[in-house]
Amino acid sequence: MNKLRVLLIDDEEAFVTTLQERLELRDIEARVALDGQQGLHTLTEYSPHVVVLDLRMPGLSGIEVLKQIRHQWPQLPVIMLSGHGSKQDAQTCLDLGAVQYHKKPLDIEELVHSLMHATSKGW
């Protein structure tokens, strides 16, 4: 069975690289992009099963990246992350097509559950 492949897009390098390591320890292949532009570029050459995307980033915002992913890769599920955590933000992301929304600090097991759920649904 192929490993689950995840693209993590977040500007907090310490956070996202540690998250990458933790996912790898759980036999999940994870690649990192440190901003939205890099994330979109990575998607042209790497086919993850799911994207985990931070809401607030310098440059291209999480919302903008989400819109572009939904437009160019409509079948690719996106899970949003945010340290902000407002209900409005969560609803906006879900309305724009994100499949799940997690607040930081994360619970890794909840994230893994969301990753599995997102890919098993075949979004």
Binding site: T18, R22, G83, G85, K104, P105, L106, I108
Partner: protein, 215 residues
């Protein structure tokens, strides 16, 4: 524009940004501690003299992160309370929880604890979030300053047709050497907002959004 509102908005905006940053910091600490925990688990068979100490320390880190998370949630709500969409109405259920979280430290310093029971549903009131927080916080302050240490400050909610209530029950017993202030002096802003002390509980009544809409 009201100068107090301007100052409150400034404080709120700057604090909110800092709280967002703190969320990221906590997230980094959580993931780093989590990674250490993962490594310990993977190497469970390896004999390591300091394993119990490390596991205990990681538990401390995790529990403090959870504690920090609650405080950040409450402070973030406080920071956003002067926002335009919360100036005239808010969900009393959410802001009562925020009062409870923000009050914990002041109550603990008086030797007591806060116990909050949320409502099962949202309770929209026609009073701004910042005003609810101010009234609730001052009510809790009154409760611990005038009553005996130890025990609980209980915070409950009561839904009504025209008014919802935030109910503060102080710890039992008045401090003998403290002059009892009139709880009605915890002034509430806006029309139709009122206090009532029944000898055991302090009620802060706020007009429901529904009632305000019908006026």
């Amino acid at each position: 524009m009201n100068p107090v509102a301007t100052e409150a908005k400034f404080m709120g905006t700057v604090t909110a940004l800092s709280m967002h940053e703190m969320q990221n910091i906590l997230a980094i600490i959580r993931e780093s501690a989590g990674l250490m925990g993962d490594v310990l688990k993977i190497n469970a068979q390896v004999d390591f003299k300091y394993r119990p100490k490390m596991e205990q320390t990681l538990e401390h880190i995790t529990s403090q992160i959870d504690r920090g998370k609650k405080l950040l949630e409450a402070t973030s709500r406080l920071a956003h309370s002067p926002d335009e969409d919360l100036l005239l109405s808010c969900d009393l259920n959410i802001y009562a929880r925020t009062v409870a979280l923000l009050s914990e430290r002041q109550v603990r310093l008086k030797g007591a604890r806060v116990n909050f029971t949320p409502a099962a549903t949202p309770l929209p009131v026609a009073v701004g979030a910042l005003m609810v927080l101010m009234a609730g916080y001052r009510a809790v302050q009154w409760a611990v300053n005038t009553h005996i240490k130890d025990g609980y400050v209980q915070i409950n909610l009561q839904a009504g047709d025209t008014e919802h209530a935030l109910i503060i029950t102080p710890p039992v017993g008045l401090c003998p050497d403290v002059r009892l202030l009139d709880p009605a002096s915890i002034s509430l802003p806006g029309q139709n907002a009122r206090t009532h002390w029944d000898g055991n509980k302090l009620f802060l009544f706020f007009p429901t959004q529904q009632a305000a809409d019908h006026e």
